[in-house]
Amino acid sequence: MAIEVRIPTILRPYTDGAKAVDAQGATLQELIGDLESRHPGLQARLVDQGALRRFVNVYLNDEDVRFLGGLETPLSDGDTVTVLPAVAGGSR
């Protein structure tokens, strides 16, 4: 199953400049693991000590995964995952 992952400018060096890449996984954790296998280094920019990094926001179909289940959030075919640096709006 394919899930579109939108990558912010600051992390595009890991995706050869691609704004969006496809990945797979039944959960966000699996998805990030799948991303890491093709874009090494990306995982460490998103996850630290088993949790999402403080200054990274991840959205599933525009909904903040911190309110859904964090790294355990289940994903479905056709979902869109958006990664954004957490700045404006004071998410934390």
Binding site: E63, D64, G90
Partner: protein
């Protein structure tokens, strides 16, 4: 409906169904038309409550000067109330807010101090706090931290929604000062413990983010994340697309932040359909589209409109 004065006519706005945008008979979406307030936005409620609380507390007396950081609507509401009640108003607003808002503020007699575009609302707050410190006789109502802001929604907006739609399951609104979500959210949850309170926050282009510093991340004092069930981040493109859909499908001419709230409302609607649950989802139409005509949000293709909106604050 008859009222003693314009100020007395704040609130009691219509709640209208969206028969075309609702996904099914069991999952319905409803718009709370806050543009039907005296100055055309939801901010008439908190503005009036903050002023009247300050009067009760003895902070405001006729002739006083009110100072407020505002990207527009709160300023316009305060300007109307201030004019009728005999106060002077000074607004601090980011320089990249629309020209209509500035003209409206000046019409109602407010003075405008511009803050740099780069810092957005956060910078307006910082500038206003500095001015308040230099001018101790000015009264800053401070919508981001004034409990009368959320109380206005707890006492009026929330009860209106429950009275009109006792089967409400979701409440969706934009996340700015957080007053609407905190007030309506607390009221509805007391009455309906399972109600879902959903925030829609604007996701600005990376151009806007790039100018900002992580340390500038600003959390309004009113914000209590416990009140929220979940939170959506809505891009300018999606907010614009939904704003146009609302007009095309349901005839409602709303501002761009309403498109963001509708996007989150339809996101929750899709989840309810998928889960096979019934839902009555109320979202807030914070204001009409009039003040955004100059942004080009309603003309040309979506891509063109999105490009024009780049770098502007729309919520």
């Amino acid at each position: 409906m008859r009222f003693e004065s314009l100020i007395d006519s704040v609130g009691r706005t219509p709640l209208v169904g969206l028969p075309r945008l609702s996904p099914s008979e069991d999952v319905r979406v409803w718009a709370k038309l806050e543009d039907r307030n005296p100055t055309g936005s939801i901010k008439d409620r908190p503005a009036l409550w903050m002023i009247e609380q300050a009067e009760k507390d003895g902070l405001l007396r006729p002739g006083c000067t009110i100072l407020e950081p505002t990207s527009g609507n709160t300023g316009i509401s305060l300007a109307m109330s201030a004019k009728l009640k005999g106060y002077k108003l000074i607004c601090v607003m980011p320089e990249n807010t629309s020209e209509e808002r500035r003209q409206l503020l000046r019409m109602w007699g407010a003075e405008i101090i511009s803050s740099p575009a780069a810092g957005g609302s956060n910078e307006a707050v910082r500038v206003a706090k500095g001015l308040a410190a230099e001018n101790p006789s000015w009264v800053m109502l401070y919508q981001y931290g004034n409990p009368a802001n959320w109380r206005s929604h707890y006492e009026t907006t929330g009860p209106e929604i429950l009275a009109d739609l006792p089967t409400v399951t979701h409440f969706v609104a934009g996340l700015g000062t957080t007053g609407t979500l905190m007030g309506v959210g607390r009221f509805l949850r007391e009455q309906l413990p399972d109600v879902k309170i959903v925030a829609a926050e604007p996701r600005y282009g990376e151009l806007v983010y790039g100018l900002r510093n992580v340390d500038e991340g600003f959390i309004p004092e009113l914000y209590d994340p416990e009140v929220l069930t979940t939170r959506f981040s809505v891009s300018s493109g999606d907010a614009l697309r939904r704003t146009r859909e609302l007009l095309a499908a349901e005839g409602i001419f709303a501002g761009v932040s309403t498109g963001a709230a509708l996007h989150a409302a339809l996101g929750m609607a899709a989840k309810a359909v998928k889960a096979g649950e019934r839902a009555d989802i109320v979202f807030v139409v914070a204001d009409g589209g009039w003040k955004y005509l100059s942004t080009g949000a309603y003309e040309g293709t979506l891509d063109e409109a999105e490009e024009r909106l780049e770098g502007q604050l729309w919520a």
